[in-house]
Structure formats: C-alpha cells, structure tokens
Symmetry: C2
Subunit: 311 residues, 2 copies
C-alpha cells in the first residue's frame, strides 16, 4: 500500500472512531439518565466516569465486528455502550486508593478525587449494573436469544474468570499479598494475567459483533484470532507507554509498573523485542480478517492503531 | 389460629428457610467454582462473602413466590442464587472502610477485614457479575424471554435507580456530603430511601417468582403489594434491632444509626409506634396473598418472621 493510501486509511479510522465515540457517548448519556436514580451526586459521578473522553475502542470493535455481517451501527450500539459501561466501571474501581490509587484518568481527576471514595465505589457498581440493564433492553439484540448470549458473554468476560480475575492477579503480581511470591513472574504468567485483565473485554467486543451478526463457527474463529492478537498488542503498547510515554500525552500517570516492581512483557523482551512482537501481532490480526475482504478494512487498520497508539 | 397451630407454622417456616438456605448455598458454591477465575484468593473472598451464613431470605421469597404457580424449587434455584449473589456483593461493598466501615458481618470478620480492601472490592464486583452469569444460563428460566426478564428486573432493582441509588441516599442522610443538608429527613424521605436500599431487592424476589411462574397481571399486582409491605416491615424491624438489639445476637454492630446521626422511622414513630406499624404491615402483606389460598401459607408466615426477627 502506498504511503498516501495508508494515510487516507488512518484518517478514515480516526473519523470512524470519532463518529463511534460520539454515538456511544450520547447513548451512555441517555442510559444514565434513564436508569435515573434519585441521587444527583451518583448520576454526576457515573457521568464523570462514563462520558469524560476515552477512545471508545471497545465499542468501535463491537460496531465494526457486527458490520462485517451487515449489522447497522445503530443496531450494534446498545451492546457497544454496555461494554463501554463495564470498561468505565473497571477504571473507576481500579483507580481507587485501595487498588492502583490514581489521581488522574484521561487527563481528568479520577472519580474518587473529583467526588469521594464511597461515591466512586457506588458509581462503579452502578455502571456495571447498567451494562446488564442495557443488554436486557428490547433494542440490544435481534431477539431474546441473542440478548441472553450477549449477557452471558459479557458476564464471563467481566467476572472472576475474566477481567476481575485478571485485576486480582495483577495486584498479586505487585506483591500485594504476602503469600503471592513476588518477582517470579514468567512471560507465560504475564500473558495469562493480561489475557484476562485487558484481553477478555477486547475479545468480548468481537464476540458481541459475531452474536449480533449471526456469524458462522468459522467466522467466529477468525474474529477470535483477531481479538487475541489485538488484545496482546494492546497490552504491549500499554507497557511501552508506561516505560516511554509522557503523562500529559498519555492522560494518566506513567512509570507505575516499575515503581510497583511489576514485571511486564517489555521488561522480559526489551523495547526492541516488544516492538518486533507488536509488528508480528498486527500482521497476525490482519491475516485473521482476510476472509472478510474489504469489509474488514477498518478493523485491520485498528490493529495498527492499537499497536502504535500514543495514549 | 390456635397457639399450637401457629407454633407449627413457625417451625415449618424455619425448616423451609433452612432447606432453602442449604440449597442456595450449595448452588452458589458450585457457581463460584464454575466461574472459576485463576486467583484462589479472589475465589476464597467470594466464598467468604457468599457462603458464610445469612438467612437467605431473598432466595426463599423467589422460591416460594414461584411455588405459588407450581414452579419446582430446583427450577427457581438459579434465579434465587443470582439474587443472593447481588445481596452478598452489596454487603461486601457497604462494609468497606469508605462506606459503613464495619468489622463484623453475620458474626464473622467482614471481607476487607478477613482479606484486604482491594480483594473485597473485587470480590464484590465478581459476585455482582456472577449474578448475571447465572441468570444467562440455560437452566435459569423456562426460555430466553424469561431469562432476559429476570436480567432486566435484577439490573433495575440493583442499580442506580434501585439498591445502589438507595445506598447513595443513605450516605447522604448520614451527612457525608456537604451539600446534602443533614438532619432534615422526613418520613417520606426515609421511606423512599429504604424502598430503594432494601425494598428493591425484596420486591425483585417476588417479581422473579412471578416471571418464572408466568403470573397474570392481577397475580403480579398482589405479589407487588405483598413485597412492598414486607420491604417496609423489614426495614422497620432492622431499625428496631439497631435501637434494641444485642450485637452478639444480631451478628453485626448495633447503635450505628444513632452514632451516625441518621434519622430512622423508629425515631419518627417511637418504638411503640414502630411496633404498631409492623403489625399493620404484616396484616397488609398477608391480605395481599389471600387469593393464592393455602399455597401462600409460608409466604404469609414469612411476613411475620420478617417483622419479628431478632437478627
């Protein structure tokens, strides 16, 4: 591909991401208003957590995966927004003083800094619950079977066997618990942890598209390969940003892994090794999409974007 | 009814509650094992939160409400266990230092005392998510429509417009937030708060039974009246225990409302007034069940139990 064509594609992806972000933010805004609740403070904290920026990468993956099967963006939007609610809740709880103790998220004060800890805990709980409320709505899937499949998949991806389990392993990797045996992490351990902590939701994003689109088993398998590759790329890119990034640009504190004494894949592979692995994963992700032809152009470009993002 | 017959009924209820508790505990144990997760510490914290006692009143209400329509106990068990997961998660998060800061729950150390705060936050998140994973399983309802209705109802009852919203109002009633205007609570405010904080899940218990049983609109309305009355009775009984109870018997700290400067209905009505209101609510609950005949005997007795419980 020529450099000009590649630049066009990158610009198309940025526009599509921006359009998706606007749609998802509007949908979440409406969903928080509908879920209502009697406490303006709680609603404000949920809005702070859910509406203040973010690339909306996971919703984009839902919408683009579903589009492979001809599903309209508006039809994929509730599932996309539900997933983003789960992502946002996880950030709120991860940032709490008892967890990662972060003051800054997306360039803004974290929820417990902008409000208080109790409000942050409840806002996170409210967003997690809202995700399932959204998936149970009539417009969330073509029929009750699809909606139940979306609920089952999201609960699996988000729960103790997925994201929450990965976060727990991550705390253990920081040596939080005396029994955990800090410092002995292998590449396999770190990959397992990250496959759960960040990979599970990225994987679900593509799974949701497959459910909405009624994908065949072979199509699902291709999307799974893609999802696994971008999940790994996402985490390696994140680790690189933690080593090399600038807090102002990244929008959150950097250098935290080293400060926490936490082993990352970048430690084990070195920066050049990590960059080579990223390139390999992008190729793997793109190859997995080959069968979908030109409908998968933006998803393929998204793999590039994930590997090379600056924040 | 003679005293002897009444004693028989009370004994029958205790036996039925005990049987239900055993079934639900076994189901939750299996569900936590299935949801697996790679962290033994997280699983242990979830088990501590979910399996260490409790009356299992909400699951009992699901099972007995469903039984009004001839639904077998085993068929109502997943929905019953899912609801109990939500109840248990809410206790874990409510007990956190940033919330009610309790050391004791059901006579045991709270999860953040037995483990640590981060683990308690994640164990709560894991149990909330597990509830929806359970409801999405094939055996959770007669068909996908029923399962989606159960998901929708639970999410509504548990979220910002239900339990989480009520908990937020409760924190505000304690004067936690400068803007909240402490001390001006009316009986209407307190009832609204409590209808959300504890009433919403009790209400859902009966709603779940109606969904599983395919109840008519009139039958649903009767169960709703029952649920509203026992919800109010539950809270007044709780407030009385906080005033009059003994920590050893109650299994958690008492006198906390007064210490927090929190107005309760017992403050507004006085102890004799609260007792009279309890008696009225029990009669209202029992009357709502009249149309179900003898099938509702245990639910009617449960209203008594809720109003007069000692812990």
């Amino acid at each position: 591909m020529s450099i000009a064509a590649s630049e066009d594609l990158s610009a198309r992806l940025m526009r599509a991401l921006g359009d998706c972000a606007a749609m998802v933010t509007e949908y979440m805004d409406g969903a928080i208003a509908r879920a209502g609740g009697p406490s303006p403070r709680l609603a404000a904290a949920m809005r702070h957590a859910a509406l203040a920026g973010g690339k909306r990468l996971r919703p984009f993956l839902v919408i683009e995966s579903a589009a492979l099967f001809g599903v309209a963006r508006t039809a994929a939007l509730p599932a996309a927004a539900a997933l983003e609610c789960v992502h946002c809740y996880s950030l709120v709880h991860d940032d709490l003083p008892a967890m990662d103790d972060d003051d800054l998220r997306r360039g803004q004060p974290t929820v417990h800094r902008a409000f208080d800890e109790a409000t942050a805990i409840l806002a996170g709980d409210g967003l997690l619950t809202l995700a399932f409320e959204i998936l149970a709505r009539e417009d969330a899937g073509p029929d009750a079977h699809a909606r139940i499949a979306l609920v089952a998949g999201l609960a699996r991806a988000a729960g103790a066997g997925g994201m929450v389990g990965g976060q727990m392993l991550d705390l253990a990797a920081e040596g939080r618990f005396a029994a955990a045996g800090r410092g002995a992490a292998t590449a396999g351990d770190i990959e397992h942890l990250q496959a759960l902590k960040t990979g599970a939701l990225l994987h679900y994003a593509c799974e949701a598209g497959a459910v909405l689109g009624g994908a065949s088993a072979a199509e699902r398998a291709s999307l799974e390969t893609y999802a696994r590759a971008i999940g790994r790329a996402f985490q390696i890119a994140d680790d690189l940003l933690d080593v090399e990034g600038d807090a102002g640009e990244v929008g959150k504190a950097v250098g935290k892994d080293a400060a926490a004494g936490k082993a990352t894949l970048v430690d084990l592979m070195g920066v050049p090794g990590a960059r080579a692995e990223l390139a390999r994963l992008v190729e793997e992700a793109r190859a997995a999409l080959a069968g979908f032809g030109s409908k998968a152009t933006l998803l393929a470009e998204a793999a590039n974007f994930i590997a090379n993002r600056r924040n």
